[in-house]
Amino acid sequence: MNSTITTSQQVNLFDKLLDKLCLTPAGLLGLILLFALPLIPPFNQEYMLRWLIYCGFIAAMSVGFDFTAGFINIVNFGYAAVSGFGGYTSALLVINAGLSPWLAMAAGGITAGSLGLIIGLISLRLRGIFAACLSWFFGLALMGLATKLVWLTRGPMGLRTPRLFETDSNLPFYFVIIIMLFFIYLVCKWIVRSKMGLAFQAIGQNMDAARTSGINPVYYRVFNFTLSCAIAGVLGGFYAHFYGILTPDVMHTSKTVEVLAVAYIGGRGSLWGGAVIAFPFIFLMEIIRSSLADLPGLNLVIYALVLILVMIYYPGGFAYFYDMNIRKSKNKMLRYFFNGRA
């Protein structure tokens, strides 16, 4: 870090732009690769594209999840339920009020955000495992409502929703989710880099000490919950308008576990770790699931094993590994490539 500052007193425009976008040259390359991916032969088939979209969805969810879990250190166990709530809101607005899906997705984000505001407010007094339990029960209650309010959500029969684009091709959906992923990452990263992120980390590490140093936990915790849930809501809207069908299953705890696993394997508190790891990981899982169809559940067994091993032996996840080994490369060019100049 120090050597880069001494070598270049004035930072050129490209580096400045990269810094504003919170990307390193490696990150930029990765983003370009993601955009080019559907044009590269093995990935340009429609079913692979569907998997990639699902990867993108989980990646974006894990960024939003990590924004809460990695910084203020509260595991929002009802994350999938909040996301599903946003999805249902969006879908119902389109169906009953005739709103355009794009606007409805934003509305889903707003309603899910206000739900996050409520969860944030009522979980204020609770810490650690208690807050996780509260959000979990909230999620269970929401899922129960979605299952039982059959007149509104059609319950387990599934709600048919109009899709974002009228085409059969999955390509536009893929670009939308990648752009959404990037924007979500950008917003979260900007906030985390500001003074607010410092406050989040202080609250996450030791709430009493943070309060003593003049940080008001109420404001920061509620803000964090609201934003993270709003992200989940928008993504839920995307999910609804991509698959074209919504069942209460999207709100199930196992969906939260999926997001959680990706976020933790990627590395908590890094934001990008989960987003990066989601693509190879979820993609591999989908390959295993579809090619070994006579061994149902094998992909989830591997999934759980990886989660357990990472939790025990490498709690920092992929991001920690990257920071410790790859970033500290001896080669100056490589170091620039992995770190950027800022």
Binding site: N73, V75, I122, R125, L126, R127, G128, I129, F130, A132, C133, L134, W136, F137, F138, L140, A141, M143, G144, L145, T147, K148, T253, S254, V257, L260, A261, Y264, L295, P296, G297, L298, L300, V301, Y303, A304, L305, L307, I308, M311, I312, Y313, P315
Partner: protein, 321 residues
């Protein structure tokens, strides 16, 4: 007090079968919830995989009882008619205890050696992984179909106060009552039980007076898992064994634990009957399927206004981090 009042009113209004249902579900729930409480109080593990030990118990009971019931069909006068189901349930308990020890040796032990800070949250996430692993191992090895039995004890249902209770249900309650009583006796009067309680109050203090922590940890985890497996085994006639059978008992046990305060073992027994009553009343007056929504909201209110549970408990401090 309110619970008893509600129970009396409800049983007067809609018949005593509601009360009977409550008592049977509550008895089994008490087993699962005491196991969960034990894990929380002694090991500070917020167990998410406890339902999976319920599943292991019911699976074991199924595979043990199926040959026994075939044998019974051929020799109806055999002594196994009475003893057979008990053997199956005992096997469930043993396998549950063994799987608990395996889980401790393979999963929690390594984490305990490595992790220093944030143990509660990390171990919680670890149990989440364990839960997914066990559910899918079940699916992979035994298939996703329902593995159930018709009943343990055949014969005429017992009639108490105009309510007919099948023998299985009555026996399930008897088993639950006996196990909870033995467990309570064990925890209160034996020196091992006292050692477990000592560890749950203060690990360092327990170590100073010469309690072998490793042993207590192993014992606790095997006890907790065995309790859950007994519940699974004896409820096999109601809940056939399938991969995700453990989720419902898990949710309900968590409701109980939050309601009665984390780590409060006797409170858990009382809480189990409250939650069972709540569930029975909800199903009766609002409809099936609402039995998650209403208890969820009520438990949320408990969490918001009285986070230490209605009976209060001392272990909260350790779990707050």
């Amino acid at each position: 007090m309110i619970t008893i009042l509600v129970a009396v009113v409800a049983s007067i209004v809609s018949g005593p079968y509601l009360l009977v249902n409550t008592i049977i579900t509550g008895g089994m729930l008490a087993l699962v919830a005491t196991g969960l409480t034990l894990m929380l109080g002694v090991l500070n593990i917020a167990m998410f995989a406890h339902g999976e030990f319920f599943m292991i118990g019911s699976l074991t009971a199924y595979y043990v009882f199926t040959p026994i019931s075939n044998y019974i069909n051929e020799n109806p006068d055999s002594f196994l008619v009475v003893i057979g189901p008990l053997i199956a349930i005992a096997c469930a308990a043993v396998i549950g205890a063994i799987s608990g020890i395996v889980a401790e040796k393979l999963v929690f032990g390594p984490l305990r050696k490595r992790a220093t800070d944030n143990w509660v949250m990390n171990s919680f996430l670890l149990t989440v992984g364990l839960s997914v692993l066990l559910i899918n191992l079940h699916q992979l090895l035994f298939g996703a179909d329902f593995k159930g039995i018709v009943g343990y004890w055949s014969g005429m249902p017992i009639s108490i106060a105009d309510v007919f209770i099948s023998r299985d249900r009555a026996m399930a309650f008897v088993i639950a009552a006996v196990v909870v009583a033995i467990f309570w006796f064990f925890m209160t009067y034996t020196s091992t039980g006292m050692a477990i309680r000592a560890v749950s109050q203060d690990i360092t203090g327990a170590q100073i007076v010469g309690i072998d922590i490793e042993k207590i940890v192993l014992l606790t985890i095997s006890l907790a898992c065995a309790l859950s497996a007994v519940a699974g085994g004896s409820l096999l006639f109601m809940y056939p064994s399938y991969p995700t059978v453990g989720l419902e008992p898990l949710y309900l046990a968590w409701f109980v634990v939050i309601l009665s305060g984390l780590g409060n073992i006797l409170g858990a027994v009382a809480g189990a009957f409250m939650v069972a009553l709540l569930k029975a009343v909800t199903v009766e007056y609002i409809g099936a399927g609402w039995d998650f929504v209403v208890p969820s909201f009520l438990i949320m209110f408990v969490l918001i206004f009285k986070p230490s549970g209605i009976f209060g408990s001392d272990v909260r401090g350790a779990l707050d981090k």
